[in-house]
Structures are given as structure tokens and as C-alpha cells.
């Protein structure tokens, strides 16, 4: 948890440590993670550079980058890191903090997708494709994407018209309310 040194201000690096149980100073910037990252060329800043920004205290630059949102969570980096730094988990924490701190991220379609997905679970306890697609489309007005796969799923009976609902609604409600960010 945070340091008890009284000169110490609680930093973003501390927040990350609390969420991931690992210290960003572990990373020695070899760049192996970015070399093997499958979405590196879509990112504005390389994954290892995000770690560097946090190490050096450039928190805003790191939190508003698109990189954490484009990270696909494939864990190639975490598997290959010579320092056993779990970069995928670090990216999870950076996203979580960007949301907690209300940082405006450029590519917010991805954020809207996650919100829409989690809203289905909050309502039903399980994911529901039609609800997810409808909510996501409404939020993003991205109406044309997926026009080719949705009819296919309908014809093949893969889209459920009615969501499957978890019976123990109370436990689902508690999970969401007790883990909600203040």
C-alpha cells in the first residue's frame, strides 16, 4: 500500500501498485514487449513507453494516450518480459485509473463498448448480444458496422431474442454496487 513517508504524495504509480501488486520500477526498458505487441502499429505511444512515462511521473501523458485502450490484453508482453513485469495487467490498471480520474480518451468507442457490455451483465447477470449491440450502436451512432454478420447470426439462430437471466438478482446487484467507483 502507499508509503508512510510523510513527504510522500500518493501518486499514480502508487495507485498502479495497489491495483496490480507490482512496482513499475521493475521495468528496465528493454523494449521486448513493444517488439512483440500485435497492435503496436495502431498505437500512438509504444507500450514500454507508457511504463516509462509512469516511471518518470508524466502521468497525464500516459493516462490520456490511446495505447492502453488499444491494448488487446493478449499478454504476449507479460509472457516475454525478462523482468517478469506483467505489462498486460499494468495496462488494465492504467485504463481503470483513466476512467476513475475522468481522463478524456480520444478513442472512446472502445470505452463505450466496455460500458455497454458491462451494462448487460448488470441488468441480467449475463451478456446479451442484442442488448449489447443495440446499446453500443446508440452510444456511438456507429450504425453501419456489422451489417454483414448480424443477419448471418439471426438466420443461424445464434442471436437470442430474450436474454438469459440470472435468478439471484440480488447478488449481481451487490457485486456492481459494492465495486462501483465513487
Amino acid at each position: 500500500m502507499s508509503s508512510h513517508n510523510h513527504n510522500h504524495v500518493h501518486t499514480v504509480a502508487d495507485d498502479i501498485k495497489e491495483k496490480t501488486f507490482q512496482d513499475v520500477s521493475l521495468c528496465y526498458q528493454c523494449g521486448k514487449c513493444s517488439a512483440g505487441c500485435p497492435v503496436r502499429y495502431y498505437m500512438d505511444i509504444a507500450p514500454n513507453k507508457i511504463v516509462r512515462l509512469i516511471q518518470l511521473g508524466f502521468y497525464e501523458e500516459a493516462l490520456k494516450s490511446e495505447t492502453p485502450w488499444l491494448c488487446a490484453g493478449c499478454m504476449t508482453c507479460s509472457t516475454r518480459c525478462p523482468q517478469e513485469f506483467d505489462l498486460a495487467k499494468f495496462m488494465d490498471a492504467v485504463r481503470e485509473l483513466a476512467l476513475e480520474k475522468g481522463v478524456k480518451v480520444n478513442k472512446n468507442h472502445i470505452v463505450k463498448f466496455h460500458e455497454s457490455f458491462l451494462n448487460q451483465i448488470k441488468r441480467f447477470g449475463r451478456s446479451w448480444e442484442i442488448g449489447l449491440i443495440a446499446e453500443y450502436k446508440l452510444k456511438t451512432l456507429d450504425l453501419m458496422q456489422d451489417v454483414d454478420s448480424a443477419p448471418d447470426m439471426l438466420i443461424k439462430g445464434k442471436l437470442e431474442m430474450i436474454p438469459h437471466k440470472v435468478k439471484d438478482k440480488k447478488s449481481v446487484k451487490n457485486i456492481f454496487s459494492r465495486t462501483a467507483k465513487k
Binding site: 458496422q145 447470426m153 447478488s171 459494492r178
Partner: protein, 291 residues
């Protein structure tokens, strides 16, 4: 030893055929499992990328239910669910403070360790002898690219399953059907499943590279063990053709469907007709085996 089944959301919708073929194959091999009653979504991937406590609580609710139901092991055929469940177990076992937080959220003490298996581990447990003994059809015409993706093998320190860079367990199972696995480069590359709706451009790009590499290495079918991979690699081929007109259809089967065919079931029974890219073993062009 009582085996439990955590289907996961895809199994009840877009990956119905995976559920159907899994149940049929398991039954044919003389094994059985009980579905975890009233399970919830594991939250993959949206929960863990935005709220770690939510993610761990959703996963652990299911483990706690399995425990209540007296299950010893559970199988999670979706690689994403499997990964979330084993990761959450690992997190709460290694960080007592997190365990306490999750217990408060769930109003439950988390006790017994339950072994969560992925699909490949399930069949290894059932045993290769059973598969060989029940095999009716030798799938000689198939040259298979076994695709593991990210979440079955990574991170190795948590999944403790196969080699993270060069896994081979799926190939061993495929060989039991008489099909021939090919050597190729993209078996653990990411298909971008997390971005399936929001960044289709990335998904199409990554998925196409995977399919192309399989073709280049002489495969005539790909086999997967994850509904998210399947929807990117199969369902997205229609969009892929629009984006990359040179793309040619390439069939992608679930491992359970391949096993089902070898155990004598037909495509319709196994739900293979629900795929976007058609696959009929008997209509496989002779030369396709050597594409």
C-alpha cells in the same frame, strides 16, 4: 470426483454449436458434467480492463457456486472465461487483502481450491485411449492448423498449461482423429477479440494474417478452442472479403466438432451448419487436402 461445467455467455448464443458439440462429444466418450447453477458472466474482457475488483468478484462468484454445489473440477470451454477464472483464483490466492475485499463483495468466505480446466485439459483428462477406442471415422483428408490464441496458454505462470510460445497439446488431440496437424507460425498470435465491435479494422487485420499463415503452411482447416476466436476467424470472413477482396473462405472448426466428426457424428448434429464458412467433410475437394 464431480466435474462441473461453466458454459459462459457465448455458449448460450453466438457459440451454440460449441456447446452442442461439447455436450455430445463428452457424452459419447462416457463422461459427464453438471452445469454450475445460476452462473454469472465472468466479465471478460470489459470488467478486468476497467475495474479489477468487479472482475475478480464476478469470476469468484462462479467458483463459490461450484464449491457450494460440491464440484471438484470445472471445465470452462471458452478460453476467455477459463483465463479469467484461473487468473482471479491466482490473484486472490496470492493477495490475501484482495481475497478479503472480494469476500466482502460476495458476502461469502472463499475456501476450497477448485481446479478450472480448459477444453484441451478436459480431453487430456478423459484420456486419449477413450478417443481412439470410440473413433469411427479417420479424418485423413484434413490438414489442420491448431490455433491456441492468447488466453489458453498465457500467462504461463498462471495457466500452467503447455508451452506459451510453442504449445503442442492440441496437435496431440487432433492426431487422434487421423487428421494431420501442420507446422505454422501464428498459433499463439492474437486475433484481437477484445476489439470485436469497437475496432473491427484491427480484428480483420489480425485475423486475416492468422488465416493466411495457416493457408500458406498447407492447412485446409483451422481448429480452435475459444468462441471469441471462432467468431473473429469464421464470422468475420464475410467482412474480410469486402475489405480484402483476394481473401478466400477458409473453414474454422471447434476442436469439439473435429472430435465429433471422428466419433461418427455428422456436421448437422454437431452444429457445424451454423458457421459462416461452410464445411462438409465429404465434399472436401480432393485437391484441397494439398492447397
Amino acid at each position: 470426483m464431480k466435474l462441473g461445467y461453466f458454459p459462459g455467455c457465448s455458449q448460450t448464443g453466438t457459440a451454440k454449436e460449441y456447446d452442442i458439440s461439447l455436450r455430445k462429444v463428452v457424452e459419447k466418450l462416457g463422461a459427464s458434467f453438471d452445469e454450475i447453477q445460476d452462473w454469472t458472466c465472468c466479465g471478460a474482457t470489459s470488467a478486468h480492463v476497467t475495474n479489477h475488483l468487479l472482475a475478480n468478484s464476478l469470476s469468484m462468484r462462479n467458483i463459490a457456486l461450484a464449491e457450494q454445489q460440491g464440484l471438484d473440477d470445472i471445465v470452462a470451454p471458452c478460453a476467455a472465461c477459463y483465463n479469467r477464472l484461473v487468473t482471479s483464483q491466482h490473484e486472490i490466492q496470492t493477495h490475501p487483502e484482495l481475497k478479503q475485499e472480494v469476500e466482502l463483495v460476495l458476502d461469502k468466505k472463499l475456501g476450497k481450491e477448485i481446479k478450472v480446466m480448459n477444453l484441451i485439459e478436459l480431453f487430456m483428462k478423459i484420456g486419449s485411449e477413450k478417443i481412439t477406442a470410440n473413433r469411427i471415422k479417420e479424418l485423413k483428408n484434413l490438414k489442420v492448423a491448431c490455433y491456441y490464441g492468447c488466453l489458453l496458454v498465457r500467462p504461463a505462470a498462471i495457466t500452467h498449461f503447455d508451452d506459451a510460445e510453442q504449445p503442442s497439446s492440441m496437435e496431440s488431440l487432433v492426431e487422434l482423429t487421423g487428421a494431420k496437424p501442420v507446422d505454422w507460425n501464428y498459433k499463439v498470435e492474437c486475433c484481437g477479440a477484445a476489439h470485436t465491435l469497437a475496432r473491427r479494422d484491427i480484428v480483420l487485420d489480425l485475423s486475416k494474417k492468422i488465416l493466411d499463415d495457416a493457408k500458406e503452411h498447407g492447412a485446409n482447416v483451422m481448429v480452435v478452442a475459444c468462441p471469441m476466436c471462432h467468431s473473429n476467424l469464421d464470422m468475420r470472413q464475410r467482412a474480410m472479403k469486402r475489405e480484402y477482396p483476394e481473401h478466400k473462405d477458409f473453414p474454422v472448426l471447434y476442436l469439439t466438432e473435429l472430435l465429433g466428426l471422428a466419433l461418427g457424428m455428422d456436421e448437422k448434429e454437431l452444429g457445424i451448419n451454423k458457421h459462416t464458412v461452410e464445411f462438409k467433410y465429404n465434399e472436401l475437394p480432393a485437391d484441397k487436402a494439398a492447397v
